[in-house]
Symmetry: C2
Subunit: 156 residues, 2 copies
DNA sequence: TATTGTTATACTCTATAACTATA
DNA sequence: TATAGTTATAGAGTATAACAATA
């Protein structure tokens, strides 16, 4: 009689085990990064998304661009900006070039908050400061190879 | 008269600019990883948290452990497991060793789903497969240095 | 007493669809 | 016609507080 098939663990074209292991470590690293970020934001009464949005606002930006960068629907941006505006961390301003557009920008208080978050996050990721120049260069190259920069939609 | 202070951009003990730049790239990489993961999960009608939980269940686990690994309150795990259980992707089982504990484990359908998600994610991160052995080793070392493994709570 | 899991609650995030005002 | 932003809605994630069962 035919023996039952030996216990082959999976279907799918079986990626190299080394890659699987590496992907697991990437998953852990990404989780760790956001755990740190969320904790720092929470220390200021901010959610992850609120902290992300503040960190993105190095310059005034249309709400639509924020939706793209946060990878969420445009309708969500309204609420997030509402809550940040209620706490006077950001402001909405009309775009003189296109009256449909509202630019979001940091208030002074918002700028201070961003700087504090960045500094605190940096001190949480203390391992970063232990890298020498060669390590930094290698890391930047590797990350760039795995996560190629995504181009924002062309500005019209 | 005293001149106004030159425009010094920040307060805070000013981390090395190289580290700041690197932290930005880490943020982008982490965001990119989760954007990919969430898209793959969404392709199967799963949310990010549901996908994360499935991926964690390589072995049966107490709900409490899942809460720790997902970095959320234990009360949230109830709802997430409820929804996965309703779709028959996981099951709850009594822990013979401690009757307070419920172990969560993947059903066969859940196992298949996890394998499909992992395979699809791997093909999204095609850059991973382009790394040679030296690159993989370097990346693992660097990630380990920046994000030291966090030890789960000792198992009683 | 402490821990596990659950429930109730209130808030935030999320996508979808419909709307307005502009372009 | 197409786009930017808003609103309404329903579902999902979130922490807090209180609870029952068990250790």
């Amino acid at each position: 009689m035919t023996r039952p098939a030996p216990h082959v663990p999976s279907a799918a074209p079986a990626p190299a085990p080394a890659s699987v292991q590496l992907m697991d470590q990437l998953a852990q690293a990404a989780a760790s990064y956001y755990r740190n970020f969320a904790a720092v934001a929470a220390g200021r009464g901010l959610t992850l998304m609120q902290g992300k949005m503040l960190s993105l606002l190095r310059q005034p930006m249309p709400m639509r661009t924020l939706a793209d960068l946060l990878a969420c629907d445009a309708s969500n941006v309204t609420g997030i900006v509402d809550r940040l505006e209620a706490r006077e961390l950001v402001r909405r301003e009309a775009d003189p070039a296109d009256r449909r557009v509202k630019l979001v920008l940091l208030t002074e208080s918002g700028q201070r908050t961003v700087e504090e978050i960045r500094a605190e996050l940096m001190s949480e990721l203390s391992g970063l400061e232990t890298l020498d120049e060669a390590d930094r260069h290698a890391l930047r190259r590797l990350l760039g190879q795995i996560f190629p920069a995504e181009h924002a939609r062309p500005p019209r």
